[in-house]
């Protein structure tokens, strides 16, 4: 008897699953799709690490703020959840598009599949994706950057500044995107002074382990490199870069920031005298430009590349000690010109 009842229970469970399979009701995006076209503009969906990383994601937010101020429309910014799938990301973008936001930007290459799917469902909305150039659809703008070019200049600056002839690179996560920073930096150092040694370290293998979000990990890595005589450390590690800068400040060596001009950031004001320069990647401008192009009725499409020439990647000049070093500035100027003219080809991996 008992056997039967247990099997009934198992059967009931299967049946309820099967029932659920015949999913009922409308889709969340079809329901009331007529509402809220209104005055909605740019929306961005963050990558892992999210808002407040003082770096990549915050740069996208800065672009959003600017667009909001200038065009006076409603904007939205949404954070991801941990361990989510492409389907969840697509759901997020679709939801934004459905509410009438235009353009909708996925910040980070992780959104590639999601942007592709959402762009097919909402052909009239312009989508943007940062750091990915694999999507080739009419209504998608691929916002990519030649990070290696700015990193090359950072390498030149590091090699020129180093007295110990040892410099360090701290990468947040061991992924192709960050390899570009390392490759450019190492090449810049080598082309300037072949005798300078580059120490490289990646904090974690995956973003989930916190490579972009752990200042403590960055600090430990930088301290290790400084112990090995490095006197300039370059961090391409998102929020973890704060720890690198902190360690450099404590040991009185130079740090080079990344993505945003970290000399100017309030959160890092205490350490700013140790921040030589920052290899900037102007995500803010790219995001703003996309919003502007939509506002002007001529939305960007295809690959929109930011490089030294367009000024969307560059080296910041806000530390006076760095800006006033004539010898260094001359070397940087030559290197920059050579990269723009194509005389120097910077490797990206």
């Amino acid at each position: 008897m008992r056997r039967i009842s247990r099997i009934t229970v198992a059967g009931a469970a299967t049946a309820s699953l099967a029932l659920a399979l015949s999913a009922c009701g409308g889709t969340s995006t079809s329901a009331g799709s007529s509402d809220s076209k209104g005055d909605k503009g740019l929306a961005i969906a963050y990558d892992v690490g999210g808002k407040g990383d003082q770096s990549f994601n915050d740069a996208a937010f800065a672009g959003l703020e600017q667009a909001k101020k200038e065009f006076g429309y409603q904007t939205a910014d949404v954070e991801p959840t941990e361990g989510e799938t492409d389907a969840d990301k697509e759901q997020r973008l679709v939801s934004l598009a459905k509410q009438g936001y235009n353009p909708v930007v996925g910040v980070g290459y992780a959104y590639a599949a999601a942007v592709k799917g959402a762009a097919e469902k909402f052909p009239k909305t312009t989508f943007g994706i940062v750091d990915d150039a694999t999507i080739n659809t009419e209504n998608v703008a691929d916002l990519v950057f030649n990070e290696e070019q700015a990193s090359y200049l950072a390498g030149v600056a590091a090699a020129k500044t180093s007295k110990t002839k040892v410099v360090g690179f701290v990468g947040g996560v061991d992924i192709p995107l960050i390899h570009k920073f390392q490759a450019g930096f190492a090449q810049g150092v080598k082309d300037t002074d072949p005798k300078v040694k580059v120490l490289s370290q990646y904090l974690t293998q995956t973003a989930e382990e916190g490579g972009f979000a752990s200042p403590d990990k960055g600090k430990t890595a930088a301290e290790g490199q400084i112990e090995k005589k490095a006197d300039v450390v370059y961090a391409a590690a998102g929020l973890s870069g704060q720890g690198v800068i902190e360690a450099a400040a404590a040991e009185k060596v130079w740090a080079i920031g990344v993505d945003s001009d970290q000399y100017q950031q309030e959160a890092l004001a205490k350490y700013k005298d140790s921040i030589l320069t920052s290899a900037m990647k102007d995500v803010a401008k790219a995001v703003y430009n996309l919003a502007k192009s939509v506002e002007d009725g001529k939305p960007e499409t295809g690959i929109v590349r930011g490089d030294l020439k367009t000024g969307e990647v560059s080296l910041s000049n806000s530390n006076p000690k760095f800006a006033d070093d004539a010898d260094l500035q001359a070397a940087l100027k030559t290197a920059k010109e050579k990269i723009i003219s194509g005389e120097i080809k910077v490797k990206s991996s």
């Binding site: 009842s5 699953l17 399979l21 889709t27 939205a76 969840d88 290459y109 990915d132 992924i175």
Partner: protein, 372 residues
């Protein structure tokens, strides 16, 4: 042998129900404390449940949670704590993706091959911890945690372009798998597609129940979990049981990532969902290691995951769902213990009453009712 044991059912259901109620109330208090409406977020999340595309997302996600939780539960049933499910399923999915991208057989052979690859990889990875435990006495908790970290490094190695990696833009992938290894989903039009391997999750649940409750092995496993010395005295080889439990747990874990791999992404990339193994621990706990309980727990978890992003668009923080998940796990532990003691006391009182009334013990149903 009664057909329907009310006492047993009451005790089995009381724990989770109390835990859920407490978690809901506590979350509402958290919302109140942050100056927001304590009801609207729940209303919004329930509303999401009525949308077919959200239902599809929930079922798809739940299938992976369910498999991972079963893997954890198998270990729990014999007091083994396999925290390594996370590494095991990621590595299993990775190997299946690699094989699927390099071997092209007819679908009838390809799919079993991929499943087998994942099963063997997961079992192998968990087996390392099992062997260490039986030969060197290394705690499986420590060993599996370490193996998780090693698994991420192995995956990073396999992603290298000169090993099995294929770079797509800034993403690491293992290359697209051959179509013969894709498992067609159940298409629901605009709502999306339900992964074909959701059925595998159901079958695994049934298999789990049969093996544990209807086989000699399952009995030995439960006996070892209840008391290792007693099991050994009755002729169960404890070392063999530990090893086989770890292997089976790992084998199931290896499958946890396959619904999405074979049903949707068809490649193992940086976007592959992580952390399912850890969530599986909480889900197995909430589901009391029972195949039906775990199914409900997995669906509940998936619902919290999939319905909460909508909160962001209504001025609430979707993290309330994460807080709820945490509160559920906490209250589950507390309420299960409380319900167990309450059940024991009830049982004692009843036995006492029956003895006082001069009844013969055992004529009625007085077998253990305290769960577990």
């Amino acid at each position: 042998m009664k057909k329907f044991d009310k006492e047993r059912l009451l005790l089995a259901v009381a724990g989770p129900v109390i835990a859920l109620a407490v978690a809901f109330v506590l979350s509402a208090i958290v919302l109140l404390a942050s100056g927001k409406s304590p009801f609207e977020p729940f209303a919004l999340m329930f509303e999401q449940l009525s949308f077919s595309d959200i239902q599809v997302l929930i079922i798809n996600q739940a299938s992976m949670y369910y498999i991972a939780a079963l893997a954890v539960a198998i270990g729990f049933r014999m007091n083994l704590f396999n925290i390594g499910v996370d590494g095991q399923y990621q590595l299993g999915a990775m190997m299946a993706a690699v094989v699927g991208a390099h071997v092209n057989l007819p679908a009838a052979l390809q799919v079993p091959l991929l499943l087998l690859t994942a099963v063997l990889t997961g079992a192998f990875w968990a087996g390392i911890a099992g062997v260490l435990k039986v030969t060197r006495g290394v705690s499986e908790v420590v060993a599996t945690i370490m193996l998780n970290a090693i698994a991420t490094s192995v995956i990073a190695y396999l992603w290298l372009p000169n090993v099995f990696g294929v770079k797509v833009g800034n993403n690491n992938t293992t290359g697209e798998m051959y179509e013969s290894g894709w498992i067609p989903g159940i298409s629901l039009g605009d709502a999306g597609e339900i992964y074909g391997l959701v059925l595998l999750a159901v079958l695994l649940g049934i298999g789990y129940w049969i093996v544990l409750n209807r086989t000699r092995f399952g009995f030995d496993l439960r006996a070892s979990g209840a008391s290792q010395t007693a099991a050994a005295a009755s002729g169960v080889d404890p070392k063999r049981m530990v090893l086989s439990a770890m292997l089976i747990s790992g084998a199931i874990a290896g499958l946890a990532g396959l619904p999405i791999l074979l049903g949707d992404t068809h490649t193992y990339s940086l976007n592959f969902p992580t952390g399912i193994g850890f969530l599986g621990i909480g889900i197995a706990l909430l589901g009391r290691n029972s195949p039906v309980g775990i199914a409900f727990a997995a669906l509940l978890w998936a619902w919290l995951d999939k319905a909460s992003p909508e909160l962001d668009f209504h001025g609430y923080d979707k993290e309330i769902a994460v807080i709820m998940q945490g509160l559920i796990v906490l209250s589950v532990v507390v309420s299960y213990e409380a319900v167990r003691e309450w059940g024991l006391r009830r049982q004692q009182r009843r036995v006492g009453a029956e003895l006082a009334a001069g009844h013969v013990l055992g004529a009625q149903n007085t077998k253990e009712v305290a769960g577990r």
